[in-house]
Amino acid sequence: MKTLFIGLMLLIATPVFASVSGTVIGTQQDENGNIIVKTAYYMDGVNVPSRYPVENGVYYWVSRYSFQNFDGMTPLQIEARIKQDVDAFAQSLIAKKYTTEANASLDLKALVGKTFTSQTAEIQLSPTKALTVNTAGVSVQKVLTPTVEAIAK
């Protein structure tokens, strides 16, 4: 009982230090010979699940590299390069969690029952020509000013 209580307190306490951290748990080569860096991520202290097989009870994520990515770098610079990618994914995890929670908190009940109507649609025929059409079969030709097709390859 005491253990359970301590465990609960620990779980409750970790969000106080809300963060995502990544621990590199191993590196290897993939089937193409590229470098795989395996990183376990922890959100508020809890291991973030992934689709990769659990290793020693830990979920991990993968980022890939080749020697060209580290050309001319010192070990410290290589570590900084890896950290950059770990940071980017950690930030992505934070943003996704926030977005999910923010979306869930929006109250859109007032929209239910509202009807929105569109009268016409535009159909592009060429870079310079479009039709504005409606459901009664009426169409009005529209001249467009092309700006993109002059782009050189």
Partner: protein, 271 residues
């Protein structure tokens, strides 16, 4: 009391992000896994909630290709022949201005110089193009106000076999380009680097340049997606290994040799 504690623990554990279905990602704008189509159908299903179903030019143009090789999680691909009749189109695309943009796809080119996904508005001169250039390098182009900015990979031509490619363009930087999950070197930006500013495109297509109606792709495309943000290298690897829906397993990483396991980065924690 025991029940309450168990409930609390469960709630906290469930609060952690789950393994990812990228088709359900908040920033996904189209997710064409090609897992259920095939036959003589002329609709390319969008597996996200964005309803970007594509329409074939006509039955058999392009044609469906039943996958029997890499990637193991894809059931079908669309096979383009570079004929002008081979294209897939859909309606409006990105939800207004975006400051970052990513495109991913598996491709197997029969020849080079063709558009994988192109999107543009002729009227406002905005859009993007993700394509294989004439030399076999992957190129990511933004079109802003009628001007263009682009970068292509330089490391090696992609070849004529299945390859996973991705481009992630962030607001501040030029795009990061990935081939089989690895970020690769690029040319200098033509026209100068610039962030995406993709607006209400009206001409969107797979297999042809949406802006010019030319530059047809020759080869197969499957598992293609567009995100309205810059996905990370870890996400690119995850998509490469498990597919956009996260249901596949391209290769068993656990079975690969851990030849680098004592390297300098092992057990380093980044906070």
């Amino acid at each position: 009391m025991k029940k309450f504690i168990l409930l609390m623990v469960l709630m906290l554990v469930c609060g952690v992000a789950n393994a990812t279905d990228y088709c359900a990602d908040a920033n996904i704008r189209a997710c064409w896994t090609m897992s259920t189509e095939g036959g003589s159908g002329t609709t390319l299903n969008d597996d996200s909630s964005k309803n970007k179903d594509g329409t074939f030019s006509s039955s058999g143009h392009p044609s469906w290709y039943a996958m029997s090789e890499m990637p193991a999680y894809a059931s079908w691909a669309v096979d383009f022949t570079s004929a002008s009749s081979d294209k897939i189109t859909w309606g409006s695309f990105i939800d207004g201005v975006t400051q970052s943009l990513s495109v991913t796809s598996w491709i197997n080119p029969d020849s080079y110089d063709g558009t994988i996904i192109g999107s543009a508005s002729f009227a406002s001169g905005q859009g993007f193009q993700f394509y294989v250039n004439a030399s076999g390098y992957v190129s990511f182009r933004l079109i802003r106000n009628g001007a263009y900015y682009q970068q292509a990979t330089t490391q090696s031509a992609i070849g004529y076999d299945w390859v996973h490619i991705a481009g992630a363009w962030t607001q501040a930087d030029t795009p990061i380009m990935y081939v089989n999950g690895i970020s690769v070197s690029k040319t200098s930006a033509s026209g100068g680097g610039s962030s995406p500013n993709v607006l209400d495109q009206t001409t969107n297509a797979m297999g042809v340049d949406g802006s010019s109606g030319t530059n047809y792709f020759d080869g197969k495309i499957t598992e293609a997606s567009v995100f309205q943000d810059a996905i990370t290298s870890t996400e690119v690897s995850d998509i490469y290994d498990h597919g956009l829906k996260g249901t596949g397993n391209r290769v068993s990483i656990a079975s690969l040799p851990s030849v680098l396991s004592d390297s300098v980065w092992s057990h380093t924690t980044f906070n």
